[in-house]
């Protein structure tokens, strides 16, 4: 066995008394892929930030090729050959691919400060070829797809001679095809002798890609070893620290007959066409589709954030005339967006203020003056926080951006629960949160349905929908192209429907699928 390229020796890190990492030791072999797994807050990011030169370790040390490694900053780490491909990409949308690649040092014309454009373009083409990306160097980066942008970042890393590349949740915004391309690229990088650290919540992907796997929990290494030692169940158990008998809580209630939301032939040219379905009381209805299927857009249209050309939407029997989120909220519809940071929460506000936001109009003491019934509101918020088990310090002073992803998501859901919605549309409800929190969110969804509400769950994670829903609708290219009852759930068939856009076998009972 060769010398490890990278070693962490008893690395520790504290933040104002709280332990982020404790006695973390691990070794990465050159030319291999190391999968790094752990819940949010387990310490993965901190460890990688130390490697990337953003933070110094408090205890222990890091060795690169046997020699001590103390980067003074990210630039230093880059010079040492370590590249960090973050979830939020570090590219400049307003600049071209060439500019992005050479932003810290362009090739110059002789001694003048002028950029040698031809050289720069030429080298860019070479760099792009190394990642199989076929776009013109002059393309503005904001015109590229997320997958292409990621490839540009990888190209940039390779171009600056990165020997170690860290991937942090790289597949979140990629289409399936782009994900395949990424995996192929990682395979190739490995063959070329580069070393990869791959962080992901997608345990299946990690099992696929990695040579070795390390699992962190609460800042410590719980278990590490070659990939053959692991399977999904053992990984989850190690991450969470206890056996989770099932990932998905069992449903108690049954689907009722009352139709809470009736959608009929809703069309918006270029986005969705002829969408029809019914959402019943007590039902968890899944909506599955690949990227570009129009699933998120449909959610936004149903909630009244975006307009539609034709078709009707009825909530609780009442036709919705206006394109107005406020109107929908009054009718009892809730909408949890896919991006909680941008649209779900006021990051700088307290947990209490965030959770009170939608229900505010219901807690008016005087209709005219608009004074807030603070006591009543406070009690309601406290109640929901307790019910959802949102972990935070003081509700009224703790700022929401300091909460973990899972607690943030619970805060978003709690905000809507205060309005006692009858129809709940959720777009990617468990994005970016760890396994333990996911289970809690699934329980909340179940409780909602059991209480008589209808939940429309839009998600790109098929396994999640299969485990959670009573019925799954499939969308492809803006149209409804399949419907599956729980009894006929079959991941392969559902996925095929999403890809082919063919009509799946229509089933008896519940409303049919439109053309």
């Amino acid at each position: 066995m060769s010398e490890p390229l990278l070693e962490f020796e008893h690395v520790g890190k504290r933040f104002f008394g709280a332990v982020a990492l404790h006695d973390v030791s691990l070794a990465v072999q050159p030319g291999s892929v190391m999968g790094l797994i752990g819940e949010n807050g387990a310490g993965k990011s901190t460890l990688m930030n130390i490697l990337g030169g953003v933070l110094p370790p408090d205890e222990g040390q890091v060795r690169l090729q046997g020699k001590p490694y103390h980067p003074s900053g990210p630039a230093d780490a880059a010079r040492a050959g370590i590249a960090f491909i973050h979830q939020e990409l570090n590219l400049f949308g307003n600049l071209s691919v060439v500019d992005n690649l050479f932003i810290d040092r362009f090739p110059r014309v002789g001694r003048t400060p002028l950029i040698h454009r031809r050289q720069a373009a030429h080298r860019t083409v070479e760099a792009l070829a190394a990642v199989n990306l076929n776009v013109s160097p002059k393309t503005r980066v904001d015109r590229l797809t997320p997958g292409q942008k990621q490839l540009v970042e990888i190209a940039k890393a390779l171009h600056s001679g990165a020997r170690i590349i860290i991937f942090d949740e790289p597949t979140t915004s990629l289409t399936s095809r782009e994900t395949q391309q990424l995996f192929e690229l990682i395979g190739q990088l490995r063959r070329d002798g580069r070393t990869i650290l791959y962080i992901s919540h997608n345990l299946g992907d990690v099992l696929n890609l990695a040579d070795e796997i390390t699992i962190l929990r609460d800042g410590r290494v719980v278990v590490k070893g070659p990939k053959d030692d692991f399977d999904v169940d053992t990984m989850i158990a190690a991450m969470v620290g206890k056996q989770i008998d099932q990932l998905y809580p069992s449903r108690k209630g049954t689907v009722g007959d009352k139709v809470l939301m009736a959608v009929s032939r809703v069309t918006e040219p270029g986005i969705i066409k002829g969408i029809s379905f019914d959402l019943h009381a007590g039902e968890v209805l899944g909506l599955f589709g690949l990227m570009g299927s129009g699933r998120t857009e449909l959610g936004r249209i149903l909630f009244g954030l975006d307009s539609y050309r034709s078709g009707t939407i009825h909530v609780d029997g009442r036709m919705q005339y206006t394109r107005s989120a406020r109107e929908r909220i009054r009718q009892g519809v809730a909408f949890i967006t896919e991006d909680r940071r941008a649209e779900g929460l006021l990051m700088e506000a307290s947990v209490a203020d965030n959770m009170a936001l939608v229900a505010l109009p219901r807690y008016r003491r005087h209709r005219m003056l608009g004074t807030v019934d603070r006591r009543g509101l406070g009690r309601a918020v406290d109640g929901v926080v307790k019910a959802l088990k949102v972990k935070c310090g003081d509700l009224r002073t703790d700022v929401v951006k300091n909460l973990s992803g899972g607690n943030q998501q619970k805060a978003v859901i709690g905000k809507w629960l205060l309005c006692e919605p009858t129809v709940c549309i959720m777009d990617e409800p468990t994005r970016g949160i760890d396994v333990g929190a996911k289970y809690e969110v699934y329980s909340i969804i179940n409780d909602l349905a059991d209480g008589g509400a209808g939940v429309l769950c839009i998600s790109s994670e098929l396994e999640e929908l299969v485990g959670l829903c009573d019925r799954i609708l499939v969308m492809s290219k803006g149209q409804m192209c399949g419907q599956f009852q729980r009894s006929e759930f079959d991941e392969e068939r559902i996925l095929t429907a999403a890809f082919d856009g063919h009509l799946a076998q229509p089933s008896q009972g519940q409303s049919g699928v439109s053309n």
């Binding site: 990210p74 400049f92 949308g93 307003n94 600049l95 500019d99 040092r105 454009r117 095809r177 975006d306």
Partner: protein
């Protein structure tokens, strides 16, 4: 679509045509030359402002900068009769120092540019008043002579403006520093992570703006002959308007000096000159000028919204 992407040029042509039709005098060579001359001094300052706006900052102190630099140069000329060239250097030097103060406050003290340049605007004006004892400072013939100078029939100010635009354009499009300015404007955190020396880039923008402000001031003085206590007031707003009309975003990362800011500066001057040529009531002029600028900014905002909506209809699909 094409319309929306080229608002500055279209506004420019539109205004030109409208005023040309309303008053033929507008189209006379002398009138057009005057417009270009007047636009030159605002234009130079607007180019400096463009640099700062591109980095995502703003400089409200250019007016006071102009004033202090001109006063300093003027007083020096009065006291020790130095050559006009030396006076220009002094003027630029003061502008540089002014810009440096802004630069340090923004990059080292981490104070928001709006507040920094608001404060230096206040303080700078006061400093200028203190030096000049609030009296007008006259410039000798040697300088005003320069103001009227021409080379090959083209007035000096226009030549200098063209030179400034050329250099600025090259820096922004063909040098590392220029590209880094756009990067910092897009996101200073991202720029830092990419290895860009963000404080240095920002400082350069503010210093350049300071120097260009004092240069613009000197050129203006060379035409006016003296500097009174209100010199340069409101100039910052004209410079910002010129840059924004030319397509520079107040949020940073978007914009260019040619054709952008040049068109913007010319557009503003055209509006003023057109109003005079059509003999509009003196008191109505600011109203109409404001109205035209409002329409330009409105068109720009509409462009943003419509483009965003159009892009929404072309979402990515799985292949």
């Amino acid at each position: 679509m094409v319309v929306l992407r080229n608002v500055p040029i279209l506004m420019f042509l539109g205004t030109f045509v409208v005023f040309g039709l309303l008053s033929p005098r507008f189209l006379e060579y002398q009138s057009l030359e005057n417009i270009a001359k007047q636009a030159s001094y605002i234009g130079i300052i607007a180019v400096g402002m463009t640099f700062v706006l591109l980095t995502g900052g703003i400089d409200l102190s250019v007016g006071s900068n102009m004033y202090v630099s001109a006063v300093a140069a003027g007083l020096l000329m009065q006291r020790s009769s130095i050559s006009p060239v030396l006076a220009l250097l002094v003027c630029l030097g003061v502008g540089l120092i002014f810009g440096l103060v802004n630069a340090l406050a923004v990059t080292r003290l981490h104070i928001v540019p709006f507040v920094v340049t608001l404060a230096t605007q206040f303080a700078g004006r006061g400093l200028g008043w203190m030096l000049s004892k609030s009296r007008a400072v006259a410039f000798p013939q040697s300088v005003t002579g320069l103001g009227a100078a021409e080379l090959l029939g083209i007035p000096g100010p226009i030549l200098i403006f063209s030179g400034v635009v050329l250099m600025a354009g090259i820096v922004l499009t063909r040098t590392t520093l220029g590209r880094q300015i756009y990067a910092v404007g897009y996101g200073s955190e991202a720029a830092h992570k990419a290895g860009v020396n963000v404080p240095r880039v920002q400082a350069t923008a503010y210093v350049a703006c300071g120097i260009l402000a004092s240069l613009g001031g000197f050129i203006s003085v060379a035409q006016l002959g003296n500097v009174n206590s209100g010199f340069g007031e409101m100039v910052e707003f004209q410079a910002i308007a010129a840059a924004v009309l030319g397509g520079t975003s107040l949020f940073g990362g978007i914009g260019n000096v040619f054709p952008g800011t040049v068109l913007g500066a010319l557009l503003i001057q055209m509006v003023w000159a057109g109003l005079v040529a059509t003999r509009t009531d003196l008191y109505l002029q600011p109203l109409i000028a404001a109205g035209i600028i409002f329409i330009a900014v409105l068109l720009d905002s509409l462009r943003n919204t419509i483009l965003a909506r159009w892009e929404r209809h072309n979402i990515r699909t799985e292949e």
